[in-house]
């Protein structure tokens, strides 16, 4: 599963060298010497965002370091990404019209920036908005959560704002936060089962109603027997890659 990430890290390294963003490089160095080898991966989009991926165990320490060392007192948001492609198909080709592409977990999927090898990845953005340590800074912390044990330490003791974000993340992805004052449902009714934002959670609205765009131009009524070339699938048809050829 992790083969995709090795070339990913290599690609990161070489595209970083052309213009090194020394500002973010500085923040990265501050964090690396604070966390040591807990910093597993990092990526800099020059002039835009600094991603730092830390090991799951030192998630709390990473946030603490960002807060003390970089002065990131502003808690922007915390969420998760489910990297598995959706087995329910893409865009409008809902299961009713097109055979479901069964997803086999063994097939590899690429994870995003700054590497990562598990399906669930936690994401948190902290910022130093008052420019206390002389300079405004912001860092995007990432960490990987193994599929079988979605547990991590809660950031509520550090930031009050983490309370709601973690409740939403627990509700939508099923990530357990140890030490959270009250993991209750935030948006969904109390007897809701399942975690909606996981990719394998079906979006029922799309499965119930047949997609009106699936209909195609019927052949000429008089010449039903003569050979009919597939429907005129011009390039726009590529959007729904599964449905062009039934006539």
């Amino acid at each position: 599963m992790a083969d995709a990430t090795t070339d990913q890290a290599a690609k990161d390294a070489e595209d970083q060298s052309p213009e090194v963003d020394e500002l973010r490089q500085g923040w990265l160095d501050v964090l690396t010497d604070a966390l040591g080898d807990a910093v597993v991966g990092s990526h800099i989009a020059p002039g835009r965002v600094l991603w730092v991926r830390v090991a799951r165990a030192s998630w709390f320490e990473a946030a603490e370091a960002a807060r003390e060392r970089l002065g990131c007192t502003f808690f922007d948001f915390l969420s998760a990404i489910d990297w598995m492609p959706s087995p329910w198909g893409r865009y409008e080709d809902s299961a009713v019209d097109v055979g479901v592409k069964p997803f086999d977990p063994s097939s590899s999927f690429t994870t995003g920036v700054a590497g990562g090898d598990t399906r669930f990845q936690l994401l948190c953005h902290l910022a130093n908005v008052r420019g206390r340590n002389g300079q405004r800074a912001d860092v995007m912390l990432k960490t990987d959560l193994p599929d079988d044990d979605l547990r991590i330490r809660s950031l509520v003791p550090l930031y009050g704002g983490a309370n709601w974000h973690e409740r939403e993340c627990w509700e939508m992805f099923g990530v357990e936060f140890d030490g959270h004052p009250g993991l209750r449902h935030l948006y969904l009714p109390s007897e809701f089962e399942g975690h909606p934002l996981r990719k394998d959670f079906p979006l029922l609205a799309r499965l119930v109603k047949p997609w009106p765009g699936i209909v195609d131009v019927e052949p000429r009524p008089a010449a039903a027997d003569e050979e009919v070339e597939p429907a005129t699938a011009d390039d726009a048809d590529g959007a729904a890659d599964g449905n062009g050829d039934e006539a």
């Binding site: 109603k209 997609w211 765009g213 131009v217 959007a239």
Partner: protein
């Protein structure tokens, strides 16, 4: 920090002043000599809807009009509609050749083109994505129905809206957009 404006006259009195001034402006709108004659219906900012109507801007997205001749049943609008509210059925047909003696042309004929305005959210993606300029916006907004099912406009109802489509306006100075023409 900036100095905060301490109210000169006590705020309570100034507040009364604002409401009184507005009352005077509404009942006696300044119309030169005739200001002294109370005319609240001119001074008020409201429009008495059934009797006076306010024309929306020419670009307002009120209802979608269909120019049937231009439609080649390419299904692009039905596919790109986020609400799935455009239902199209068409069939292939032969049309007389352009040049005498030429081969009969393969043409798509439109059987059904319904837009369900109960679902439509007026985003305008269909009008924008139509490559053959068959769909236009008209600022018409008075087509409410008693029954929800009547909000499904069929192809000739959409054709009727074509007359209400205004011409495209000229652009502001400095713009490089060319003014499109509405095929009447």
């Amino acid at each position: 920090m900036a100095k905060f404006p301490a109210p000169k006259a006590p705020g309570l009195v100034k507040g009364l002043g604002v409401t009184l001034k507005t009352m005077m402006k509404t009942t006696f709108p300044s119309r030169g000599m005739k200001t002294l004659i109370p005319a609240p219906s001119i001074g008020a900012a409201t429009v008495q809807y059934p009797h006076e109507k306010e024309m929306p801007a020419p670009r307002a997205r009120g209802v979608i009009a269909l120019k049937e001749e231009n439609c080649t049943v390419c299904m692009l609008c039905a596919r790109s509609c986020p609400d799935w509210c455009i239902y199209i059925e068409g069939h292939k047909d032969t049309a007389p050749p352009r040049r005498p003696g030429g081969k009969p042309r393969q043409v798509n004929k439109l059987d059904r083109f319904d837009i369900d305005y109960a679902l439509c959210m007026y985003c305008g993606i269909c009008v924008e994505v139509c490559p053959f300029d068959a769909l236009f916006w008209s600022p018409e907004y008075e087509y409410s129905e008693l029954r929800l099912a009547d909000l499904l406009h069929d192809k000739d109802r959409l054709g009727e809206w074509m007359q209400t489509v205004p011409d495209f306006e000229p652009y502001e100075a400095g713009s490089e957009q060319k003014v499109r023409k509405v095929p009447r």
